[in-house]
């Protein structure tokens, strides 16, 4: 039968494609940790076992379809039971499964051993950004999507790392065991970097643990893998892995910068300085919800441009940024932004898009409110 031949040809093409699937970009990445390599080889082993079973099973099937066609005059047999065969094809798959389970168990046991880490990083999912905190090092920052909205809308050519680029990547040392403590501020998220073979849900109120030991320096990209609301698709993860010494220098630099920023709290800032700084903070933190022109997206995200309550009440405005609004998508920025950043973004939103209040919110005032 002609149709049958077409069918078989189709299957051959599919089977022929599978080696091609091993090419880069078609398959799971091998990754840059011992575990990711192990997972990859586990994946390939099982894949080839499935291919082998498939060849046998579909082979017999298509042979039967071809050989025992009525149009070729095949006469039907009447057998319908065979205990030995039935026992065999229950037992053999069972043995194959045991064969798969052994290496899988070994790998899993390793994945669960997060002990003896040299560095602890707390990863917090927030709608729709990641916050990284180097525990005990006084270094913390948020990491936001940096792809311009214009590229999403197609008004600008899309860059090489479209949707997989951030303003500030998570920097990690190579050849050191790093433990992740993972949680969320709002809904479930899932932190995933394929090259590191780490995918872990972040759960509000609960802490999850994972770890990584990267063997090659480089930049590794991933995404949030658990549906977390409107901008779930716009919440990338970028990890920048550096050699140990380079990482130590980076960490020291970050600590210094944080200390310097702390000094900046005490001096008086000019409107222009705050506006410039505030615009940067706004576009990385606020614009994804309140929109680049402050127009918001009601009802979920209120507009800031021309918002009367905001224009009229400085203290309420700053408090809202610090504490967030319970039960809404507006998070607390108490621990996410420093006083300079809060003052800057408050000043910016009070003076941009025709809000023109002329108010200057000083970092020292914010610091006072934070410390009350």
């Amino acid at each position: 039968m002609r149709t049958l031949l077409v069918w078989m040809a189709g299957c051959c093409i599919l089977a022929g494609l599978s080696p091609l699937a091993l090419a880069n970009g078609w398959n799971m990445p091998v990754g840059v940790t011992d575990l990711s390599r192990e997972i990859f080889s586990l994946h390939m082993t099982i894949f080839w076992i499935c291919v082998a079973i498939g060849v046998v099973v579909f082979g017999v099937m298509f042979y039967s379809l071809f050989r025992f066609r009525r149009s070729r005059g095949a006469k039907a047999d009447n057998f319908h039971e065979h205990t030995t065969v039935e026992v065999l094809w229950t037992a053999i798959p069972l043995l194959i499964l045991v064969g798969m389970a052994v290496p899988a168990t070994a790998t899993l046991v390793q994945m669960y051993d997060a002990s003896d880490a040299e560095l602890d990083v707390m990863i917090t999912g927030q709608q729709w950004r990641w916050r990284y905190e180097y525990l005990g090092e006084d270094v913390a920052f948020t990491s936001n999507l940096s792809t311009p909205r214009a590229q999403v809308r197609g008004e600008e050519a899309r860059g090489e790392h479209y949707l997989l680029e951030v303003d500030e990547p998570l920097v990690l040392p190579t050849d050191r065991k790093v433990r992740f403590l993972m949680t969320s501020d709002d809904v479930l998220h899932s932190w995933w970097v394929p090259d590191l073979a780490v995918k872990q849900d972040t759960i509000p109120g609960f802490i999850n643990e994972n770890w990584v030991n990267i063997s090659e320096p480089g930049i590794y990209r991933g995404q949030c893998a658990e549906l977390c609301g409107i901008n779930h698709g716009f919440m990338p993860v970028v990890v920048h892995a550096m050699e140990g010494e380079e990482f130590d220098d980076w960490l020291a630099e970050r600590k210094e910068a944080a200390a310097e920023e702390a000094l900046g709290v005490d001096r008086d800032w000019e409107l222009d300085e705050l506006m410039e700084r505030g615009e940067a903070v706004y576009s990385s933190i606020c614009a994804s919800c309140h929109q680049p022109e402050g127009q918001g997206a009601p009802p979920a995200f209120p507009s800031l441009a021309g918002n009367e309550r905001l224009i009229g009440d400085v203290e309420w405005h700053v408090q809202t940024i610090i504490n967030g609004v319970s039960g809404t998508a507006m998070p607390s920025f108490r621990n996410t932004l420093n006083p300079v950043e809060i003052a800057a973004v408050a000043t910016f939103t009070r003076n941009a898009w025709g809000n023109d209040t002329g108010d200057v919110v000083q970092p020292s005032d914010v610091a006072e409110q934070l410390a009350q």
Binding site: D113, A114, S115, D116, A117, D120, M122, T124, L135, G136, R179, L181, T183, D185, D186, P204, G205, F206, I207, N208, E209, P298, P299, A300, F301, P302, S303, L304, N307, E308, R309, L310, H317, Q319, T320, I322, N323, G324, V325, S326, G327, T328, A329, M330, P331, S332, R334, N335, Q369, L370, A371, Q372
Partner: protein
């Protein structure tokens, strides 16, 4: 009633009735089971340590002697949450203890707003399998806290790590997340609140 009863003899009807009664009983049972799973899950989690859930009631100190041969690092992390103008601070980020040793750590709650409010610190432990070896003798997390405007409150956590803590666990992380306690009558609804526009 007409045709459909043609084939249904009395024994059929009885059989059908019996089947229906049993099915309905099974249904009610399964519905109740779903609700029973909620407390069962809590118990199960506490027994097995799934999810880093901790037994949230005071436990007695067990004097089983201190295991001087090993040290375990206990880390403390405190977190705030949106809409709650509180701060929770811990006096030390981490301590090194022997299993069996009893330690006391002070935590400071501060209400930074001009209004009184209530909150609860929700605990979580990592790695989760350590949680059933963690005995809290007293903890601020057992109860919700009420703070007046600007009030400051220092509360202790007294805990002990059991000596049977698995030997490969040498770091235990305790995380406390502050959550506002709202009235049960005021459900929190994201879109509805935000929908009022002027509340930014």
């Amino acid at each position: 009633m007409s045709h459909r009863d043609h084939g249904a003899t009395d024994s059929h009807k009885l059989g059908v009735r019996r089947t229906v009664v049993r099915s309905v009983a099974a249904l009610i049972g399964m519905f109740a089971f779903a609700f029973a799973l909620v407390p069962l899950y809590d118990v199960f989690c506490q027994v097995t340590g799934i999810n880093g859930k901790v037994d949230n009631t005071a436990q007695a100190i067990i004097h089983e002697g201190v295991d001087d041969s090993r040290y375990v690092t206990v880390q403390f992390i405190t977190r705030g949450s949106s809409g709650l103008p509180w701060r929770l601070e811990v006096e030390t980020r981490q301590v090194r203890v022997h299993p069996g040793q009893t330690s006391e750590i002070n935590f400071t709650f501060r209400n930074q707003s001009a209004e009184a409010s209530r909150a609860r610190a929700v605990p979580s432990v990592s790695p989760s399998r350590a949680s059933r070896h963690l005995r809290k003798v007293s903890c601020f997390c057992f109860d919700e806290q009420h703070l007046e405007a600007g009030e400051r409150l220092e509360l202790p956590l007294v805990f002990q790590l059991a000596r049977d803590l698995p030997p490969d666990v040498n770091t235990v992380t305790l995380v406390y997340t502050l959550y506002p306690v709202t009235d049960a009558r005021a459900p929190r609804r994201a879109q509805v609140t935000a929908g009022k526009g002027d509340e930014a």
